[in-house]
Symmetry: C2
Subunit: 240 residues, 2 copies
C-alpha cells in the first residue's frame, strides 16, 4: 500500500484501478483535469462522450431519468472509480454524472483508446478489468433492488459504502467517512420514497447514522445481518 501520485488517497487493489507503474503511464495518457462543484454535472444522459475520467477526489452520483421524470441513481462514484467508460465505448451515455461534493477528475481522450489497446495492453487489460468489476457490482445492486425490502436495502447500502470508503483510507478519527449525499439521493439509489428512506434510516440508527456530511457505522456486522450481506473483504486484482 503506497501513496498514489495522482490521487492523494491511499490505494487498495480492488478499489483503485491503477497500480503505481500504470499510473505513471496514465499520467502521460491523460488529457487534463476537471473540477466540479456540488450539483454540477460532468455529462448528461444522451451525451456523446469524447472523454472518460478517473475520479481523483470527491464523490458523486450517476443516474438515469425515466420518461415520466423519476430519477434512479445507478451507482455512487468514489475516488478511484472510472467514469464514463461505457458511454465512451458505446458512443452514448445512459446516465448523468453529478457531483455531490467538490470533485477532481482526470480526463482521458476517447481518441487515444485505440492507442491504449494497440501499444499498452497491460493498461488496456486494466481498463477491461475495471469494467468487469463494475458489472459485477451492478449485478449486486440489481439483486438488492429486486429482492430486498427497505430495511435490508438500506443496511446493505450503508455497509457497502462504508467499507468502500474505509478501504480508501477516508475514515476520520471518529470512525466516520465522508457522505455528501442527501436522503433524497439515497432514496433514488434504493428505489424508495424520500419519506420511507427517512423512516428506515431512523430504524437503523443504533447501528449506523448519517448527518453533517458523514456516515458513521457503529455495528458493521449488525448491518450485515440486517442487509443479508456477507461482510466481504475486497479482493485483489489478478495480474495480467
Amino acid at each position: 500500500m503506497h501513496p498514489c501520485k495522482v490521487c492523494p488517497l491511499r490505494a487498495t487493489p480492488l478499489f483503485h484501478p491503477f497500480s503505481e507503474g500504470e499510473l505513471n503511464f496514465m499520467i502521460g495518457f491523460r488529457a487534463g483535469e476537471v473540477r466540479l462543484e456540488p450539483g454540477e454535472a460532468l455529462f448528461h444522459e444522451g451525451d456523446r462522450l469524447e472523454h472518460f475520467y478517473t475520479v481523483l477526489s470527491g464523490q458523486g452520483g450517476r443516474y438515469t431519468t425515466l420518461p415520466n421524470g423519476e430519477r434512479q441513481m445507478v451507482n455512487f462514484v468514489f475516488p478511484g472509480d472510472i467514469a464514463g467508460l461505457s458511454g465512451t465505448l458505446t458512443g452514448e451515455t445512459n446516465t448523468t454524472l453529478q457531483a455531490a461534493s467538490p470533485m477532481r477528475l482526470c480526463r482521458f481522450d476517447r481518441s487515444r483508446l485505440p492507442d491504449l489497446f494497440r501499444s499498452h495492453h497491460e493498461r488496456a487489460y486494466a481498463v477491461t478489468w475495471i469494467a468487469a468489476a463494475e458489472e459485477h457490482f451492478l449485478g449486486e445492486i440489481i439483486a438488492t433492488l429486486g429482492r430486498r425490502n427497505a430495511l435490508q436495502r438500506m443496511a446493505w447500502a450503508l455497509l457497502r459504502i462504508y467499507v468502500r470508503l474505509e478501504a480508501l483510507g477516508l475514515r476520520d478519527a471518529q470512525g466516520a467517512v465522508p457522505f455528501p449525499y442527501r436522503q433524497a439521493d439515497l432514496a433514488d439509489a434504493l428505489g424508495l420514497s424520500l419519506v420511507h428512506t427517512n423512516k428506515t434510516l431512523a430504524r437503523l440508527r443504533p447501528l449506523a447514522r448519517i448527518g453533517g456530511g458523514k456516515l458513521m457505522v457503529s455495528d458493521g456486522s449488525g448491518l450485515a445481518e440486517k442487509g443479508l450481506t456477507d461482510f466481504e473483504m475486497p479482493r485483489q486484482r489478478p495480474l495480467l
Copy 2:
C-alpha cells in the same frame, strides 16, 4: 448481414459481438464447445472461472441467490452474448448461469486472455466493448427495478426481449420469438412475486402474450408506452 460461421444465426452489429473476421480469429482462440440441457448450470455463484463463453444458440438466465434463499435474475442470456467474462476477469462469479432451453456455447480459456490483449488488440477492444455494452444495459435494469411498477416492468421487459430476439433473426412466421422461460423466471427477473407476475401478464394480454415457449408481441408501441421506454433501435458498434 451475413450468416455467421460459428453461430448458425444471422448477426446484427449490436447484438452479435464479433464480426466475420473476428470470428475467424475466435475460432482459433476457442477451446471447445459446451452443450447444456434445460435446467443445467454452466457455472455457479462462487465458482472460480477458468473459461468464458459465447452463446451460440439457446437461451438461459444468470441469477444470484440471496442469503435468505431468494433468487434474483440479473439478466437473460441470448445467442451472441458473452457469458462469464466478468467472473473470469475478477476471479470469481457472483452469479449462476442456467440454461432455459438447450444451449450451445463456445468456450475460451482464461489463460489465453493475456494473449488476446498482447497480440490481438482489435479483439481485445471488442471484448471490452461488450463488457461496456452490458454495463450500459444493467444500468437500464437498475432503473427498471428501482422506479417502475409491475405493469411498466413487464411491458419494458417483454419489449426489450422481443426486440433483441427479433434482431437476431429468431422471429418465426407468426411473428413470435422463442421464449423458454417460466413465469417464475420472469418474476425473479423483475423482482415480482409469481402471482403478481401472472396477473400483470394477463393485463398486458392484448399487447403481448407468452405461451408454448414463445413470446408474441402484437402492439410494440403500446408496450413501449406502458413500459415508459423509447422504442430504440440497436446501435452500431463503433470500429476501433
